[in-house]
Amino acid sequence: MNPIKTFPRGGVHPEENKLSAHQPIQDFPMPKQIIVPLGQCLGAPAECIVKKGDRVLTGQLIGTAKGFVSANVHSPATGTVAKVDVVMDHTGYYKPAVFIDREDQDEWIEGYIDTDELITDIKLDSKQIIDKVKECGIVGMGGATFPTHVKLMVPEGKKAEYIIINAAECEPYLTCDFRLLLEKTQEFLVGVKILMKAVNTDKGIIGIEENKMEAIELLDKTINAHRDLYKGIEVQPLKTKYPQGGEKQLIKAVTGREVPSGKLPIETGCVVVNVASTYAIYEAVQKNKPLIERIVTVTGKSVKKPGNFRVRFGTPADLLIEAAGGLPEGITDVINGGPMMGKSVSVTNFPCIKGTSGILLMTLNEAQDRRQTNCIRCGRCAMACPMGLQPFLLHKLAKQNNFDETETNHIMDCIECGSCEFTCPANIPLLDYIRYGKAKTGAIIRARNQK
């Protein structure tokens, strides 16, 4: 095992609470009607290409990517399109979605290889792999949902030296990536090989936090058992520290390189891909299966049966909550994602999409904002900031709408990890104001660049 590494600056260590770590992944049955939102990725929503009454097969394209940063949407089930309407998604806004009345039997699209056997032989070349990833609508499944094919297209003049797999899963509570690593180890490793081939590199590093020792040992064992097959793949244990899975922090921890301010990770010769996305790429490239399902962790201290479910997109979240034992009494907060980066939702029946990594339920005691007091200039937020920013200052400047100063103080480098707010003894909602300032400053910068 390699020595444990970490990123040098800031970070916090929240209670891990990986309650569902030992719950095997269960296939979740689909309801009669599924609601597939067309905007499932960062960037422009897909354009609908089906209409009411059309019969769609499982895996059939129903929405085409519109623009550069956008991803295709496929039908997660076989059935008839009931309507193309709007649905309130996890953001609380009405978004366009395709409603599909499902048939009981899955009828797959042509070309899908229905097998559970491991396919190790990678037939496609680099360009074909990227095209396949694009065609299958694969996005970053850690939650940010950035289209993966855009990441893999290394710009001219740059060279990708490393494929880094983000298996840190530094968010407390979430266990979907961990379970996938344990249950689909070989498929995942072939996925890493595919990624390495896609960007023409022979180095792949899997970064995992040391609290997932089981996964580290299993991966090490598998790689050692099949030396020639998984040549070049390395497992890098990382210290259990939030936000170890932040793209920039992960690169710094694994390679010691720092992504320059305002630049993309490719500047350091690294391409970072999430575990779930890697597995999805395996399925897309080897089995011709578009991205139509993912693992969702349903968890919380008051949840009766926390679990990991394999969910087809479009399944309403309240069914998952029901399967985990229902809404416990006194629940006040339903969070889409983990407790640090996730956002509370206003409805429980929002459809699960590509970015739904977890559904976390919190009680009043756990979730309630504690009484806010004045800033005492202790500087803990600045110590905790993994990007080396000064959150107390950014908070003040954003509050004053002083967006010239927020820009010179690098508000745009904020990764919105929430470490500052977590550590603040005065319970100031620092991140709220920083997010506000970041949105406003970003708009000003974009307007200026357009001139």
Partner: protein
């Protein structure tokens, strides 16, 4: 001791005197010649520097007026929202278009009663931020968030949040119609409209362009786009914007017919005489919440907090 005091006073006094003389001559030498009309025009303006005219302040508007008067012989297109430009025009020896006083109008009546809270928000009290997070406590994605960005930006102390309704209320005596609140509303709810003849005005108190079914879900007084008002209006002053009726203030004659046919009470008539006892109460003062049938209880499975939460 007293000697030191005396000497320092004398030195400072003489120094001050000499510098004052120098400054006087320097000021004479480098005097900037300004058109005295600018000062006169500025005196006619309120001097609040609200920016509602589109210039950096009242003096900038006065300068622009004088400049345009000299170049084109008119001051068309230059207007302070709160003042009669006739006075400025008179100073410049011109005539201005008739003054039409304006007022900010809050086009949302989704109060705590009409659009009851389904979720509870805890977070930064900035509308622009809350707007990026969720639809609103009542669930209407177009409605007022009630965190008061408009209140914070108003230079005239003319808009306040009513604690009972949770909605901003415009003080008609203080509002000059500069439009700063309208610019700062992330949902474009506030509109600057003419005050109307005898201060009477009619407007649709809703900005939700969604389909009627979605509006009804979250609000008991939102416009559902039934078009009854459109058919009723004898002046063709009402147009449909998506599923929302909009009354064009330029065409509206404030007859009040649309108010009576609106099944949702979304159309507000301001400063109309009190209704006769037998007719249902349809008109009210601007901040008043219209009496509405109690909304259907919405099944709320959980009360959630639409704010990211950090747990220890």
């Amino acid at each position: 001791m007293s000697n030191t005091l005396f000497i320092s006073l004398a030195v400072l006094g003489i120094l001050g005197g000499v510098l004052a003389v120098v400054l006087y001559f320097v000021a004479q030498k480098f005097k900037v010649e300004e058109n005295p009309l600018i000062d006169e025009a500025e005196a006619c303006l309120p001097g609040a520097n609200c920016g509602g005219c589109g210039f950096a302040g009242c003096r900038a508007l006065a300068e622009a007026c004088v400049k345009q008067a000299a170049e084109k012989g008119n001051i068309d297109g230059l207007a302070c929202p709160g003042t009669d430009m006739g006075k400025v025009a008179a100073v410049l020896g011109l005539t201005a278009a008739a003054f039409e006083p304006k007022i900010a109008v809050v086009r949302c009546n989704g109060s705590c009663q009409n659009s009851p809270s389904k979720v509870h928000y805890e977070g930064a009290d900035i509308c622009a931020f809350a707007n990026t997070l969720y639809a609103g406590e009542g669930g209407c994605s177009k409605g007022c968030l009630g965190l008061g960005d408009c209140v914070k930006k108003c230079n005239f102390d003319a808009i306040h949040i009513d604690k009972e309704t949770g909605l901003p209320v415009v003080d008609p005596d203080k509002c000059v119609g500069c439009g700063v609140c309208a610019k700062n509303c992330p949902r474009g709810i506030i509109e600057v409209r003419p005050r109307g003849k005898k201060d009477r005005r009619v407007y649709v108190c809703c900005v939700n362009t969604d389909k009627g079914a979605l509006v009804v879900k979250n609000c008991s007084v939102g416009c559902i786009g039934c078009q009854k008002c459109l058919k009723e209006c004898p002046f063709e002053a009402i147009e449909m914007r998506g599923n929302l009726a909009y009354i064009d203030p330029a065409k509206c004659k404030a007859c009040g017919k649309c108010v009576k046919v609106c099944p949702r009470g979304s159309i507000h008539a301001i400063n109309f005489p009190a209704p006769k006892p037998e007719t249902p109460a349809l008109q009210g003062a601007e901040p008043a919440v219209k009496p509405q049938p109690k909304p259907e209880p919405v099944e709320v499975k959980t009360e959630v907090k639409p704010e990211n939460t950090v747990t220890a």
